[in-house]
């Protein structure tokens, strides 16, 4: 039982990471209908910004965290501005957007390898490393922070998207871009806002996952992909779906590793993905769309 609770907690922690990143995929897919393969890179960029701010003693950790989130948001916004928008305005096919986003992720990853460092960096100790014992579970403080930050960010995002007018524009653009424009919504601005928000969420995940494991150039590729699987499992385009998918994959992974075999841990997300897509191609909470004939 104790072990079960411990795994449940671990799953929750790692699931928070997936959920935070997955929601970015889902938001961007909502407004632009394409998979932003560069979304994972934002996570890496965020982790590095925080790492260097702390490593070089530029900023205390909480400020570094905040700086990382806002700069990554801006970075995400810039990728849209300079890589995707020109293509969109030319009316390029969606496949070109997808390929371009792969190019962006290559550029980010390779630039970090070449200009920064190809090595794995442990994150400097900013939190006590001794685990906290709670109800028999041993919880590293970073996990506590992860779950807390995850919950706060996810709730804020949901509130923003569902309850504020600016947030509603994201939904409106996702549902019908032309109709949104006819309401006086500046759709380009809404798309930028979406990328900014997606960037903030991803970088929060990036910093925390960097603290939990290590910071390296491939961080985004690895977690980004599984988070994408989470977004699809939950139903891409659906914000609660992204959260559900994230936690689900986090749980399955930790329980799979604990009770079945840790060797297949990284494959679990994709096995789940394949099964969900076969059973319900639009994902668990997604709405099926049929092309209009």
């Amino acid at each position: 039982m104790q072990q079960f609770l411990q795994q449940l907690w671990n799953g929750l922690a790692i699931g928070s990471v997936y959920a935070l990143v997955a929601v970015g995929y889902t938001l961007v897919f909502g407004v632009l209908k394409f998979i932003n393969f560069a979304h994972g890179s934002v996570l890496t960029v965020g982790a590095y910004i925080a790492l260097y701010s702390v490593l070089r003693n530029w900023l205390p950790f909480p400020l570094a965290f905040g700086l990382s989130m806002s700069l990554s948001g801006v970075f995400s916004y810039l990728t849209e501005m300079y890589a995707y928008r020109p293509l969109r305005e030319k009316g390029a096919p969606k496949l070109n957007l997808l390929i371009t986003s792969i190019g962006v992720s290559l550029l980010v990853e390779n630039s970090i390898v070449v200009f920064v460092s190809p090595d794995f960096h442990p994150f400097p100790r900013v939190l006590p490393s001794a685990p906290i014992t709670m109800a028999g579970m041993r919880i590293p403080p970073v996990d506590l922070l992860l779950v807390a930050v995850g919950l706060v960010l996810m709730c804020s995002l949901s509130y923003f998207v569902n309850r504020t007018l600016a947030g509603l524009t994201i939904k409106a653009v996702a549902l019908d871009r032309d109709a949104a424009a006819l309401m006086g919504i500046n759709t380009s601005k809404t798309i930028s806002l979406t990328f900014f928000l997606a960037g903030i969420m991803a970088s929060a995940a990036g910093v925390l996952i960097g603290m939990r494991f290590s910071v390296n150039p491939y961080l985004g590729g690895f977690f980004g992909l599984k988070s994408f699987a989470a977004a699809v499992v939950g139903g891409i385009g659906s914000v609660p779906g992204a959260y559900l998918g994230g936690y689900l994959i986090g749980m399955l992974e930790t329980f799979g590793a604990a009770y079945i075999s840790s060797n297949y841990k990284d494959a679990i997300a994709f096995v789940l993905l394949v099964f969900v897509l076969l059973y319900k191609p639009s994902g668990l909470l997604g709405k099926g769309t049929q092309e209009k004939v």
Binding site: F34, T100, N110, A267, L273, V274
Partner: protein
């Protein structure tokens, strides 16, 4: 009917002569040239097979697959293990490697090709991760994460060049057939394709299987060239390598894939030689940068290409002899026209 048969026989004979010529030239080059350029040419041939096979599913049929490395790895381990453990000769191992990849292609493709567009890329990518996980954990059979040393060396330049020639011949025959036209129709507009009776699922699965077959052959060649296998050789980056070749050359152009494979194969070599040269001149800093700098150059080039010429160098056109002659003709005429 008689003349038709003759035409067929003649084409087969011409093709056999071509293959023989490629073999002879390849063998000669291997004898005459130093190991370094021979190696690059061999790698080019392997890369070209991989690019051509990815082009069939993604360039012609429009199904963006990101699991190409997954099919390579199936072929690589199958051929290597058949030769090492079952003591099969090369050719049957090689063909079996392709067939098994095609079978895996069917198993992955049949369910996932019902998904639309972007989802396919994710499922195929996921498949590649699953297969890597499986290989990493079957230590007894495949060496797992320790790798598989002692794979027999077979992929000499003539072998790779002949494989490329056959691949190119079969694929160009295929795309210039009813089936090839149906592949393109699926890419153009699935609903319209169905409306004229094209079974889009069937053609997608067929294209996927053929693509996987040749990816398997390419993977097998890699194993028999490096004489060592490791699951991580066939990662996402390996897939992206083939993707970049095709995109550079042009989605839906076979000769474009050859061109793209050539450029991408040469790119790191150019940088490496430049670095060695600079190192020799005593400029160690820039030399060290260049050694890794090609990666940034490669990524930047990839992006610039997508933003400025997304259809690639050739678009959907093919390089052909008559076309080449026409082009030469135009260039010459233009020069002569000058005062």
């Amino acid at each position: 009917m008689m003349t038709k048969t003759n035409g067929f026989v003649r084409r087969i004979i011409v093709f056999a002569l071509e293959v023989a010529a490629v073999w002879v030239i390849g063998s000669l080059l291997r004898e005459v040239l130093p190991a370094y350029p021979v190696g690059i040419m061999t790698i080019f041939c392997i890369n070209a097979v991989l690019a051509l096979s990815w082009n069939l599913i993604s360039g012609f049929t429009g199904q963006f697959s990101l699991g190409h490395a997954g099919f390579m790895v199936v072929g690589a381990y199958t051929s290597a293990l058949l030769m090492m453990k079952a003591k099969w000769p090369f050719l049957p191992s090689f063909i079996t490697a392709g067939l098994l990849s095609a079978l895996v292609g069917f198993l992955v493709g049949f369910p996932s090709l019902r998904l639309v567009g972007d989802y396919l890329s994710v499922v195929t990518l996921g498949f590649q991760y699953i297969i890597t996980a499986i290989l990493n954990n079957t230590t007894k059979l495949t060496g797992g994460g320790l790798g598989l040393p002692g794979v027999p060396y077979v992929t000499s330049l003539p072998v790779a060049a002949v494989t490329l020639t056959i691949t190119l011949w079969i694929l160009s025959n295929l795309v210039n057939s009813k089936q090839g036209r149906c592949f393109v129709a699926v890419k153009e507009d699935e609903i319209a394709a169905q409306s004229v009776g094209i079974d889009t699922t069937y053609y997608k699965v067929v294209a996927f299987m053929i693509s996987s077959f040749f990816a398997g052959l390419g993977g097998a060649m890699i194993g028999h060239y490096m004489m060592y296998l490791h699951p991580d050789v066939f990662n996402y980056a390996k897939t992206i390598e083939s993707v970049s070749m095709v995109i550079l050359g042009g989605l839906g152009s076979l000769t474009g894939s050859l061109l793209g494979a050539m450029c991408i194969t040469l790119l790191p070599e150019v940088f490496r030689n430049l670095a060695t040269f600079l190192g020799g001149m005593g400029m160690l800093g820039p030399a060290n940068f260049l050694r890794r700098g090609w990666m940034v150059f490669y990524a930047t080039g990839f992006l610039v290409l997508m933003l400025t010429r997304p259809q690639g160098l050739l678009g959907r056109r093919e390089l052909t002899w008559p076309g080449f002659k026409k082009w030469i003709g135009r260039v010459v005429v233009r020069k002569e026209a000058r005062p």
